[in-house]
C-alpha cells in the first residue's frame, strides 16, 4: 500500500507538470497564427476567449493534450478495427512486422553470440562488423533494404521486419555474449572436475546463466524493433502502419493525427516492453530467483 503511493505520487507530480507545461507551450506556439486569424476576421476576443481558441485550432502547431487524447480515443474505440482511420488497425500492422523482426533478431543475436563465445576467430572478426553495422543510421539504410528487396519481388511484411531485425539483433548479441560468459571460474572448474563435455557445459551452465542477460537485452531489442518497423514504413509508401499514418498526417499538416500516431506508438512500445518484463519475471521465478 505504502509502496504504491510512494510510486504514484512522484509519477503523478511529473505528469501534472508535463501537462501544464504542454498547455502553456500550446498557447504560446499557437498564438501568432490565432492572432493573424483574428486580425483577418476582425475579431477582438477577450484574453480568456483568445487562449481558449489557441487550444481549439484544427491544425495547430502544438496540439493541446485534450485534442490528442480525444483523437486517440475516437480513432481507437469509435472506429471499426478494419477502418483505415483506426489506430488499432495501424498499430496492428506495425506490430506484426515488429514481432516478426524481433523474433528474427533475437534468434540471429543468440546465434551470433553462441558463435562468438565458442569460436575465437569469430570473436575477433565478427564483433567489429557488428558494431560498425549499428553506427550506420537506420534512416539511411532502410530505403536501400526496401528498394533492393523490392527489386527481387520481396515486398510487404518481410522488408519491414528485416529492418526491425537489423536493429534488434545487436542488443541481443551483445547481451548474450556477456551472458554466456557470465559463469564464474569456480563453476567452470567444477564442470571440468566432472569431466563434462563442452555441450554439457553449454546447456547446463552457460545457457541458464545467460537467461537474465537475454531478457534484459530483449527489452531493449523489442523497443528497437518497433522503431525499426515504424522507420521501415516511412520510405515504402506503405499505406498502413503507424509510420504510414505519421507520414500521411505530416503531408496534410495534420498535427493532431501525428501526435495521436506517436501516442499509439509509445503505447505499443510500453505494452511490448511490459510483456517482455512479465515473461522475464515468470521465467526467473521458475528458475528459483529470489523474489524481489
Amino acid at each position: 500500500m505504502n509502496s504504491v503511493t510512494e510510486k504514484i505520487v512522484p509519477v503523478t507530480t511529473i505528469l501534472i507538470a508535463i501537462v501544464i507545461g504542454w498547455y502553456a507551450l500550446a498557447m504560446v506556439m499557437n498564438a501568432p497564427f490565432q492572432r493573424d486569424m483574428n486580425r483577418r476576421g476582425n475579431v477582438t476576443p477577450s484574453t480568456v476567449e483568445f487562449l481558449e481558441s489557441t487550444l481549439a485550432q484544427a491544425k495547430p502547431i502544438v496540439p493541446a493534450p485534450h485534442q490528442v487524447v480525444q483523437n486517440v480515443y475516437e480513432n481507437t474505440f469509435l472506429r471499426k478495427i478494419t477502418s483505415n482511420r483506426s489506430l488499432v488497425y495501424h498499430a496492428g500492422v506495425t506490430l506484426s512486422s515488429t514481432l516478426l523482426g524481433f523474433t528474427f533478431g533475437t534468434i540471429l543475436g543468440i546465434l551470433i553470440a553462441v558463435g562468438i563465445v565458442h569460436v575465437a576467430a569469430l570473436d575477433r572478426s565478427l564483433m567489429p562488423w557488428i558494431i560498425a553495422s549499428q553506427t550506420i543510421p537506420i534512416l539511411a539504410i532502410a530505403p536501400m533494404i526496401i528498394v533492393v528487396l523490392a527489386a527481387v519481388n520481396i515486398t510487404g511484411l518481410l522488408p519491414k521486419a528485416l529492418i526491425s531485425t537489423y536493429l534488434s539483433f545487436f542488443p541481443v548479441a551483445v547481451g548474450m555474449v556477456k551472458g554466456l560468459r557470465s559463469p564464474e571460474l569456480m563453476h567452470l572448474d567444477l564442470m571440468h572436475t566432472y569431466n563434462a563435455s563442452p555441450s554439457q557445459v553449454f546447456w547446463k551452465l552457460r545457457v541458464p546463466a545467460s537467461v537474465p542477460f537475454l531478457f534484459a537485452s530483449m527489452k531493449v531489442a523489442i523497443a528497437a524493433s518497433l522503431v525499426g518497423a515504424i522507420v521501415g514504413e516511412l520510405p515504402t509508401g506503405a499505406v498502413a502502419g503507424i509510420g504510414a499514418k505519421l507520414l500521411s498526417a505530416s503531408y496534410f499538416s495534420n498535427t493532431i493525427d501525428m501526435w495521436a500516431a506517436l501516442v499509439a506508438g509509445s503505447v505499443v512500445a510500453m505494452l511490448l516492453v511490459g510483456l517482455v518484463g512479465i515473461v522475464s519475471r515468470l521465467v526467473e521465478r521458475a528458475m528459483g530467483a529470489r523474489p524481489a
Binding site: M186, L190, H192, T193, Y194, Q200, G288
Partner: protein, 272 residues
C-alpha cells in the same frame, strides 16, 4: 623408511592414492615466473585424512588443484590412483569442494546434488537414490526442493559436500571449504565431516589456514611455506580416530598444534 615404501602391496603394486615426487609448478605471470610449488614429495594412502596448512601463497591450493587436474605441474611426477591426474579426472576419481559452495542458483538443492550424476549419465532412478542418500549423509533431508539462497552459508556448503559425495569417488579434495563460515558453524561441520569420513572410509585432502581445524581433523598434517611453495614438515597425528570436540583442550592436541606452529615458524611463515 622411504616414504613411498609403506604403500607397496605384497604384489608390488602401489596402493597410494596420491603420489607426488619432485613436483614443481611454475606460473608464468606478467611479473615473470612465480614458483607456486617446488620439489614436493608426498604420498597419501587410502583412508587418510591429510590437511595442508600454510600462509597464503604457500601452494597448498595449487597442490590440490594439480591433483584435480585443474593446474598442470611443470616438473616432477604426480599420480592419482596410479594414473595421471588427467586420467583420474576422466575416471571421475575425486569429488572437489571449493572455498565457496558454488551451487548453481537456478537449481534446487536436489538438482544441484544431481548435477554430476546428470553429467555422468546415471539413470533417473539411480540419481534419485543417490541424492536421497547423500543429502541424508550431510543432514539436509527435507531441503531437497529449496533453492540455494533459501539456505544458510553452512547449509549451502553441506549441500556442496553432498554434491561431491554423490558419485561415490573415493577421494575428496576440499579447498578451505569452511573458511568463509563463522566458528560455531565451522565446529559443527568439522564434527560432521569426521563422522562422514569414519563412515565412508574416504581419502580426504583438506586445505586450511586454521591450525585447530587441521589438528582436529587430520591423521597427517602437511605444513607448507611460501616463496617458493614447498613442504616444510609432515606431522603424524597421535590423536585417536574418535574425536569429540573437547579433545581440543587436551595436552596431546595442544602439543600437536604447537608442533604445527613450530613447523610454520621454521618455514618463516610468521616473518613479515
Amino acid at each position: 623408511m622411504n616414504p613411498t615404501q609403506q604403500y607397496k602391496r605384497a604384489d608390488g603394486t602401489q596402493s597410494a592414492v596420491i603420489a607426488a615426487s619432485g613436483l614443481g609448478l611454475t606460473f608464468q605471470t606478467n611479473d615473470g615466473p612465480v614458483q607456486a610449488l617446488s620439489n614436493v614429495d608426498l604420498t597419501i594412502g587410502k583412508g587418510e585424512f591429510v590437511s595442508f596448512i600454510g600462509p597464503s601463497g604457500c601452494g597448498k591450493t595449487t597442490f590440490l588443484r594439480a591433483i584435480a587436474d585443474l593446474e598442470k605441474p611443470t616438473a616432477g611426477t604426480l599420480t592419482v590412483n596410479g594414473m595421471t591426474p588427467e586420467q583420474a579426472r576422466e575416471a571421475r576419481a575425486y569429488g572437489y569442494v571449493f572455498q565457496a559452495a558454488a551451487l548453481l542458483p537456478w537449481r534446487t538443492i536436489e538438482r544441484n546434488v544431481g548435477l554430476p550424476l546428470e553429467i555422468m549419465g546415471n539413470t533417473k532412478a539411480d540419481q534419485q537414490a543417490r541424492i536421497k542418500r547423500t543429502l541424508d549423509m550431510v543432514n539436509l533431508t527435507g531441503f531437497e526442493k529449496k533453492y540455494p539462497w533459501q539456505l544458510s552459508g553452512g547449509m549451502q556448503q553441506r549441500a556442496s559436500i553432498a554434491r561431491a559425495l554423490a558419485f561415490d569417488a573415493d577421494l575428496l579434495l576440499m579447498d578451505e571449504p569452511f573458511g568463509a563460515l563463522d566458528e560455531i558453524v565451522r565446529d559443527h561441520l568439522n564434527e560432521q565431516l569426521l563422522e562422514l569420513w569414519a563412515r565412508t572410509n574416504k581419502t580426504i585432502c583438506f586445505v586450511t589456514h586454521s591450525i585447530p581445524e587441521a589438528v582436529y581433523l587430520s591423521t597427517r598434517i602437511v605444513v607448507m611455506s611460501p616463496r617458493p611453495g614447498r613442504v616444510t614438515d609432515v606431522i603424524e597425528s597421535t590423536l585417536p580416530r574418535e574425536r569429540p570436540l573437547d579433545i581440543r583442550e587436551t595436552p596431546e592436541f595442544l602439543s600437536i598444534a604447537a608442533r604445527v606452529r613450530d613447523g610454520l615458524r621454521a618455514g618463516h611463515s610468521y616473518d613479515d
